[in-house]
Assembly symmetry: C2
Homo-oligomer: 227 residues x 2
Amino acid sequence: MSFPVPARPYDFSLDPASVALVVIDMQRDFIERGGFGDTLGNDVSRLTAIVPTVAALIALFRRQRLPVVHTREAHKPDLSDCPPAKRLRGRPGLRIGDEGAMGRILIAGEPGNQIVADLAPVAGEIVIDKPGKGMFWATGLHETLTAKGVTQLVFAGVTTEVCVQTSMREANDRGYECLLIEDATESYFPEFKAGAIEMIVAQGGIVGWATPLSMLEAAFEAAMAHG
Amino acid sequence: MSFPVPARPYDFSLDPASVALVVIDMQRDFIERGGFGDTLGNDVSRLTAIVPTVAALIALFRRQRLPVVHTREAHKPDLSDCPPAKRLRGRPGLRIGDEGAMGRILIAGEPGNQIVADLAPVAGEIVIDKPGKGMFWATGLHETLTAKGVTQLVFAGVTTEVCVQTSMREANDRGYECLLIEDATESYFPEFKAGAIEMIVAQGGIVGWATPLSMLEAAFEAAMAHG
């Protein structure tokens, strides 16, 4: 049974039989002090600050026994899935595959590439290593979600205007209804977070919907009370 | 031989042997008075205003005998490629497939779905009908470009933060180097155009590069003079 979640630009009709949570790139190299993002000069404290909210969102989906997907931006150790154009855009000495403070930068299996401990995936959850900013390119995720009957995606993670926005736009084109949890996503640049959210909900929700976690939690509670 | 094009965040190294121009969705329904975009209450004069600049950009690529790709947001008449989530998001009476002032809205072959006369494709150019905002989803374009040896894309068209940004993000994930011509793209919302461009060039060109047409024209001229 679907139930309404107050959201912008209008109520999101959430169907528990069709929904999954997607947590984008909450990996140590982007979130923790001493990681890749920090080394590049970004203020990672903005991102660290959302970890408890993302943890509460994941806990909500686990309580409801609903699917959870975690993504990591990760390349193969031999870089065979890293386009030269991507690697060369990096700062010399801090390119993908170079040795960083938490192991090789953006390489699968390295310490910095792991999801932060407080948000670690549990057995049965889907973990996707993606070579792009978007979660569908070269991952097979669309086929996985389709096979599970998932048609709605709730989004959290980092960064809002890069990997989250790109993944939402891909998902929207593929016919998923997308709801972004505004306080469970963050950017190194607050104006980009705000701008990306406005672009998503504009024109009648041209990319999707947005709401804070409290609204989603209250809507689930109300649905269970009346269900 | 590659040559530099002054751009943000730094010079774009353009290789005429590997580049193509992509003109996104310059279709009558988005650009002309009386079309779908206008009916929705958007100020289409902002978009109409860039037509001469886009025409000059196309003329430049034609003079250089370089590939030109045109896209249209277009669905099949039976709507089999239109996700229900996309159609239902439209305003009742103005949904995809409904009868509009220029024929059925966003349906291939209808008058409103044609590219504006001043930018009409010529023989030998690639024309892509895309069901999404991004130009790669369900179009086969990546395979077409790869077969032609294209690895760099110069972008123009509308709207900046929706179909142009989405297509650039898809292209970037696929390893293309992307250069947006700032005065050959436009949005119904000037703050979204500006914000999308900033997001593209941020973090060392995380999505790509941006420059005005005059810079690209001057760079081509200089390259030919010295070539």
